[in-house]
């Protein structure tokens, strides 16, 4: 099939993915709205949970167990500290199914784009965007194997819809061959790991945002979420994986720069921003371990770090001069 045709199918898949993401977003939103209309006294539900837990443990000798979720956060016990991650409602299940479907379409779109271009589909801004968002949603979808984070569905499907819209409208370019500077296996490694890191940071940021909201108020839909301290723990674990991947990205970038430009570090604009993001996340890791910074301050650092990534990708790519001029725009 000629490249142009493959590319038009790719675009079609991406548009379909956008449509399905939108539906998934609606399903999640409806679910959230419905949950917020459920009025249940937290105390009552806590007891039910306790009873359920005890029942499922069948009286085994595990004193102290039922209180574990709260024990990590002395002095920060919310009313709902022991509330477990709520079981997914029907809306959330539909939302998740639609998200997986959209993700499959999206992934297909990215792969076709790669076939059309005859290389990895991440070498100009449009391609970074579609692949990056696919990886981000992928992290969310696959996190399901680890833990039910369906309450982030609204965040992720909303993000995916908006970002894909921006990407197709503002960044689309027809596939072109790789300029010599990009012809390197480092393109495959460095850029892919960067998008993977972004996926984890995105997940962590979603959790951090919810943590902040939950800290401030705890009603309606929010009550069905895990406790703020628990959200913070999850956000940290995900963020740390992102940080490791970002550290690798930075180093792989330096090795590549050394191959392509003859120096491993030259404070090129993109290098500056990669560094800034890395340092902000180092600050985040420290903040998590510092009295007085744990909690919402550290959450803000994760959010700022992610904002810097988005800024780096959009504004820096397009408007800042530098050697990394590969936006293709």
């Amino acid at each position: 099939m000629p490249a142009a045709e493959l590319d038009s199918y790719s675009l079609l898949l991406v548009y379909s993915a956008m449509a399905v993401y939108t539906l998934a977003f609606l399903a999640y939103a409806v679910d959230a709205a419905r949950r917020s209309s459920v009025k249940a006294a937290p105390a009552e539900s806590r007891e039910l949970v306790g009873a359920g837990a005890a029942a499922s443990v069948a009286g085994a000798a595990v004193p102290g167990r039922s209180s574990t979720p709260a024990s990590s956060a002395p002095g920060r016990g919310d009313a709902s500290a022991t509330a477990p991650i709520a079981a997914a409602g029907r809306g959330a299940r539909i939302g998740f199914t639609l998200t997986v479907l959209a993700w499959a379409l999206h992934l297909g779109g990215a792969i076709l784009r790669g076939l059309a271009a005859g290389r990895v589909p991440w070498s100009n801004m449009y391609e970074f965007a579609i692949t990056g968002i696919a990886v981000m949603v992928g992290v969310f979808v696959l996190s399901r194997l680890w833990k039910d984070l369906n309450f982030l569905g609204v965040f992720f499907t909303g993000l995916a819809t908006v970002f894909l819209g921006v990407a197709t409208v503002n960044y689309y370019v027809a596939p072109t061959p790789l300029p010599p500077a990009l012809q390197s296996y480092w393109l495959v490694i460095h850029v892919f790991v960067a998008t993977l890191a972004t996926g984890f940071f995105g997940l962590g940021t979603g959790l951090s945002i919810l943590q902040l909201i939950k800290d401030r108020r705890d009603n309606g839909f929010l009550r069905s979420l895990p406790a703020s301290a628990q959200l913070e723990d999850l956000a940290y674990r995900v963020g740390v994986i992102g940080f490791i991947l970002w550290t690798f990205t930075l180093m792989a970038g330096a090795v590549w720069a050394e191959h392509a430009w003859g120096r491993y570090w030259g404070w090129d604009t993109k290098e500056v921003w990669t560094f800034v993001i890395w340092v902000v996340y180092a600050g985040y890791v420290h903040a998590r371990a510092t009295r007085g910074w744990r909690g919402s301050r550290s959450a803000w650092l994760q959010i700022i770090g992610f904002a810097a990534i988005i800024f780096n990708f959009t504004i820096v790519n397009q408007f800042f001069a530098g050697l990394h001029a590969y936006s293709g725009l």
Binding site: S45, A61, A86, Q183, H259
Partner: protein, 597 residues
């Protein structure tokens, strides 16, 4: 959950957390003992007291965070304002465009952010803090690694994952063996075992911070010995690795000419491949390959340099940085004597290699002659009638020259760029407003210079490449330090550090754990140990738990019956034993509250 970092007040009292074995942390670390409430009027601090106070401030976690954030913010201006190091032309441009702001740029070193006093101050403070933080921890960790695990707390029941399994003092040996096999260091205290693992977490953390320090030192000092020279070479020409043959040359402060390796490089051919089929990218470069002959110690060899494949010659790396066309132009005087015959490099102005070049002939003709012109590798015309290149390869090359006579300004002793022509003191005799058309030449053509000065011939055209010769003694070291940073970071963030205790109590064994640092898998570790100890005998106790298969216990040694082998490896499943327990509970709960849905 993450029983992790702070075990909670109860556990704290039970386990007497701040044992000498703990990783040492700055005073404001979440694991450090809470500060004593400050009394309103303490004793006055002497000088030493003040210094100690300041040092403690500087080496606190809070300061590290603030300095890290300052470093991040401080790095940003360097991406907004052009930097001398990465964009010298941008610097000139900005200064020319904003003459009123030049003082401001200079006052804040905004063209030199990463070497500026204020940026240096931030990272020097940060690294001082780092040293102050790491050195005591290093000593402490050294001792802790040699020490025995701390005493078993009096009451285990308040600790994480507390449970009992059948057994008595005779099982302690077995327990100790199991713990050791799992990588714990163990010690006996009466009828109990105290075990600790994960010292590598702290080792990794320390190594990580030390490697950061090493990175700064190596980059800062090592780069002082290197150099970086650029040379434009036309095909068929060569240059030697000597100071005088470079067009531009930068070197570190300890650089010594004698360290220039004696080699020379000839550019035999520069192959450029352009896209010809993809309609969206006609003319996009696909490949640059410089075929070169390298001569070292009188021996020549052929080699090539590509954009992502530098060539190493005797410790120096050679990069192909850019390329362009160098038309060979000869000028004859009125008598037909050749007065000029050179390949003149033209600088590309756009993607299709429309190129601009300048020639200066102070001698040989009746008057000084200056030529400035465009070279179009594939000539086309804009709607305005102006010429332009429409494809970067040599399909229809044409040279168009404007000619000037008068004073080239070369005698004034003012250095002039070879790529710029000062025409203030000159009269245009061809092109522009001179009334005569610009001189248009295809390869092999000759035209008369207006005014009977002589003739100009466009002999042929070759490509040139700009080759960057780079010697950086830090490269290898920096690479290995980077690897160390990454590996130690992995260790420091992913290795759980924890204590486990096994204690004989009334005909049963009590087990419990305590995390030192972030450790989401602690509960699971205690459960796992319980399994190993319980063996078949405890299948009954397990049966209840087995109802929760989500707790994929990786090692169901000896449990055989009850626990389904989900086989999630501990590290990645990174589980959250307590969470999972929680969600198991929630299943029950939602059953109970099902009517709400």
């Amino acid at each position: 959950m993450s029983p992790s970092s702070s075990p909670g007040p109860d556990a704290a009292s039970a386990a007497d957390t701040a044992s000498a074995n703990d990783p040492m942390r700055p005073g404001d670390h979440v694991d450090a003992p809470a500060p004593e409430p400050r009394s309103g009027s303490g004793p006055k601090l002497g000088i030493v007291g003040w210094l100690r106070f300041l040092w403690r401030q500087l080496t606190s976690m809070r300061t590290a965070i603030v300095l890290l954030l300052l470093l991040a913010v401080g790095a940003i201006p360097g991406s907004l304002v052009p930097q001398r190091s990465s964009d010298p032309n941008g610097v000139i441009q900005v200064r020319a465009d904003n003459p009123d702001l030049v003082w401001f740029y200079d006052a804040l070193s905004l063209h030199d952010v990463y070497g500026s006093p204020w940026f240096s101050a931030i990272y020097i403070l940060l690294f001082t803090s780092l040293v102050g933080c790491v050195v005591p921890r290093l000593a402490h960790h050294w001792r802790a690694m040699r020490a025995k695990p701390p005493r078993t707390p009096a009451r285990l029941s308040r600790l994480v994952g507390f449970q009992t399994v059948p057994g008595d003092a005779s099982d302690l040996d077995r327990a100790e063996g199991a713990l050791r096999k799992l990588g714990y260091r163990t010690a006996r205290y009466g009828e109990s075992i105290s075990a600790e693992r994960g010292y590598l977490r702290e080792s990794g953390n320390l190594l990580f911070h030390i490697a950061l320090l090493a990175m700064i030192l190596v980059v800062g000092l090592g780069s002082g010995f290197g150099y970086n020279g650029q040379r434009l070479v036309v095909e068929g020409r060569s240059f030697a690795n000597t100071l005088s043959s470079y067009d531009t040359f930068d070197s570190g402060q300890w650089f010594d000419d004698a360290s220039l390796a004696p080699f020379s490089v000839q550019l035999d051919d520069l192959d450029v491949v352009y896209e010809t089929e993809n309609l969206n990218a006609i003319g996009a470069p696909l490949d640059f390959t410089a075929h070169v002959s390298v001569t070292e110690d009188g021996v020549s060899r052929e080699a090539q340099i590509k954009v992502n494949e530098p060539l190493n010659v005797d410790g120096a790396d050679l990069y192909l940085i850019s390329n362009g066309y160098a038309p060979r132009i000869s000028v004859r005087d009125a008598e037909g004597e050749v007065v000029y015959d050179e390949y003149t490099p033209f600088l590309a102005q756009d993607d299709n290699m429309t190129s601009l070049g300048v020639m200066k002939l102070p001698d040989g003709l009746a008057e000084q002659l200056g030529l400035r012109g465009f070279f179009y590798p594939t000539t086309g015309q804009l709607e305005s009638g102006a010429f332009t290149s429409i494809y970067p390869d040599l399909a229809n090359p044409v040279l168009s020259l404007q000619a000037f006579t008068g004073d080239l300004g070369l005698d004034a002793g003012v250095p002039r760029s070879v790529y710029a022509l000062e025409t203030d003191e000159m009269t245009q005799i061809a092109g522009g407003d001179s009334g005569t058309d610009a001189l248009m030449l295809a390869p092999g053509q000759t035209v008369d210079i207006p005014g009977g000065l002589g003739t100009i011939t466009f002999e042929d055209v070759r490509r040139y490449g700009v080759i960057d010769v780079h010697v950086d003694y830090t490269q290898t070291a920096v690479f290995w330090i980077a690897v160390t940073i990454l590996v130690s970071l992995l260790g420091s963030l992913l290795i759980p550090r924890r204590r486990l205790w096994v204690k004989v109590a009334g005909g049963r064994l009590e087990l419990a754990g305590l995390a030192r640092g972030e450790d989401p898998t602690l509960e699971r570790a205690v459960d796992d140990l319980a399994k190993r100890l319980a063996g078949d005998g405890a299948a009954a106790a397990d049966a209840g738990r087995a109802g929760d298969p989500a707790l994929g216990r990786p090692t169901a040694a000896g449990t055989g019956v009850a626990a389904p082998e989900v086989g999630r490896p501990t590290a990645t499943g990174s589980g959250v034993a307590a969470d999972d327990a929680g969600s198991a509970g929630s299943t029950g709960a939602s059953g109970g509250t099902g009517t709400r849905e």
